[in-house]
Amino acid sequence: MINIIRSVILTLIGLGPLATLSIVFIVTMIASPGPDASISIYIGDNLINSEELADAGDDVQDVINDIFVYLSELNFSLLSLTILMALGWSIYSHYLNIDAPGKAKVYAIHWVIFSGIFIALVAGILFWWTQSNAYRAEQYLSGGGKTQIIIGSLVFYVIMYYVGVLLGTARFARSSVLLANKLPGGF
């Protein structure tokens, strides 16, 4: 049990830096930065289809609050999923039946499948938010903006997950996680 708690703590440590960034971003979005804030300018210039908006008689300021809410909710979902999946793997790794030297490598396939499910879930969420018409703000995004959101979020949350599981995987199962066995013994 102590080992599991240790794994959870290590996972949270691994997730920490990027999760903090994500939380800061979510809080910023909820706080609705002003039109002159860099983030507002960036969103207006790079994510929103301002030409189409102008055709409709709107401008960026008319829709930016919708975008803030949209991005905060999207990142909240992705962050929650990443934390849950990273913690899930770290705890699960303690229950892998590794009873002989070298057997941990066999469980790499478990990690690959688990990670594949995570990536698929992240991609699914991103697809749902950017390609379906489930959210009103989605219509204001440009094609390039959507690509940025999809690729950026995917890379960001996969790295966050990876760092989390890298540190949090049970010591005896580290060989199943890519490069985890290269960690110093203190971890």
């Binding site: 055709d55 409709a56 008689g57 008319d62 018409n133 489930a134 009103r136 219509q139 204001y140």
Partner: protein, 462 residues
């Protein structure tokens, strides 16, 4: 004190009511397009108007008066009756003949119009050029006295040389003036038996030939006057003479105002004009704003395809006229992020910059407008309330009459070959050209006309 309080209360109630009404109206501020004036000259008392009948006295007309065995002589019957009809239409009827000159016909000679003798020239051979018909002369008279109704009976056999330059302008100038005054020109072509000589058929070499073998040939009754009278005369003739399935006749109305009416004026736009998609949609409501602007209110999904709006052509286009070849749509789209009417402020309405939103299409009987076919409902943001206002204009007149009379027309260049084929049914020289000329004069006078204005007020759902 009491009176002042009461007055204040009334003002307050009126003010509150007008505010509530504005909110309930749920629409941006806009100006309604002014209906174009549809000038259709109509006189209050038709019976006080004179009627002038002009008979083409050229020798080629003589063949209509002589019966052709086995063929129905409509000329004699129609002309006989035309005099009767004319006398019913106006207060007094004046008869004239025209050929190389225009002269009145004495009352005792009117009955001779349907006899061959009327077309025989009794003067000297130089003075007696009775193969020419100067059709512009009656038009000139009509221009000088536009109050009357003018009926011209002719074979409309005009050479190309009569349809160019100065001779042409002698015809087009008075016609322009007539059309400008809101008058129209009705042309009834009747295929009748013919037993005589057709003179002046042009040849390739530049000369002319005669033809005597024709058994049938069309003649034309041209009526210049108000549309109402033209229709009356036409109706009478059709009902009395063209009842046999074998009777061939054609009709067209040359007018600069082929538009019958503006549909808003008589509240002729209803729920039936728009597709079921709208009338069966959630929260559908149809109403007239200030008795003028029909508004369709509804909720619709953004996945829906275009909204069809249909107008019957009989409701907007004068029957028998050239019709309209091109319709134009002027539209404006506003959107509001706030969808509840009670919460929408004037500033919430944003005007869309796109103007090419809907497309008109027409067939023989209907004008169909695909609303939101160019800018589709998918291309506008859902989750908003939209107010879409559309003005439908008749932009360009049609040329239906050219098509109607095409089969009875022969060009100068083809006349000799056609005659060489010994045709039984002889065609009219340059008829299509004449129609084209008349149409182009009418089209010059045509003004784009507002047919209808309507609005959609809808909530676009995802």
């Amino acid at each position: 004190m009491y009176k002042n309080t009461l007055r204040l209360l009334i003002v307050f109630i009126a003010f509150t009511y007008s505010l509530v009404e504005a909110k309930n109206n749920c629409m941006p501020e806009f100006e309604l397009a002014k209906p174009s004036s549809i000038i259709q000259s109509t006189s209050s008392n038709n019976t006080e108007k004179p009627v002038f009948i002009y008979f083409d006295q050229s020798l080629s007309m003589q063949g209509y008066t002589i019966n052709q065995p086995g063929q129905n002589n409509l000329y004699v019957n129609v002309i006989d009756d035309l005099q009767q009809i004319a006398e019913n239409v106006g207060s007094k009827t004046y008869y004239h003949s025209f050929g190389s000159i225009n002269k009145p016909i004495k009352e005792n000679k009117i009955s001779q119009v349907i006899t061959p003798g009327f077309y025989v020239c009794s003067g000297s051979s130089t003075a007696c050029n009775n193969q020419e018909s100067k059709i512009h002369l009656p038009f000139k008279d009509a221009k000088a006295n536009p109050q009357g109704t003018y009926i011209i009976v002719t074979d409309l056999f005009l050479h190309s040389k009569q349809l160019v330059g100065g001779t042409l302008s002698q015809l087009t100038k008075p016609l322009k003036s007539i059309l400008k005054k809101g008058k129209s020109v009705g042309i009834i072509g009747v295929m009748s038996s013919f037993n005589g000589t057709i003179f002046d058929i042009p040849t390739m070499e530049g000369g002319t030939i005669k033809y005597t073998e024709a058994k049938k040939r069309p003649f034309y009754i041209i009526i210049i006057g108000d549309q109402k009278e033209i229709n009356r005369i036409r109706k009478n003739l059709v009902e009395q003479h063209f009842t046999d399935p074998g009777d061939k006749y054609k009709y067209t109305l040359i007018t600069s105002t082929p538009i019958l009416q503006n549909l808003n004026n008589k509240k002729l736009i209803s729920e039936n004009n728009i597709s079921n998609k709208v009338t069966k949609a959630d929260n559908f409501k149809f109403e007239y704003l200030k008795d003028t602007l029909p508004i369709y209110k509804f909720d619709i999904r953004n996945k829906s395809k275009s909204i069809k709006f249909k107008i019957m052509k009989d409701d907007i286009i004068v029957k028998g006229s050239n019709g309209v070849s091109k319709f134009k749509i002027e539209n404006t789209l506003w959107s509001s992020k706030e969808i509840k009417c009670s919460k929408i402020n004037e500033d919430d309405w944003k005007k869309d910059k796109r103007v090419d939103i809907s497309k008109p299409k027409q067939n023989d009987n209907e004008l169909n407008i695909s609303m939101f076919s160019t800018v589709t409902l998918k291309e506008i943001y859902w989750g908003k309330r939209y107010f879409y206002m559309m003005n439908i204009y008749a932009e360009k007149p049609g040329n239906a009459s050219e098509e109607i009379f095409k089969e009875w027309s022969i060009r100068d260049s083809d006349a000799q070959t056609f005659t060489a084929g010994n045709p039984v049914e002889f065609k009219t020289l340059n008829l299509t050209k004449i129609m084209k000329i008349l149409n182009s004069v009418a089209n010059d006078e045509f003004q784009p006309t507002l047919i209808a204005t309507l609005a959609l007020n809808f909530n676009l759902l995802k």
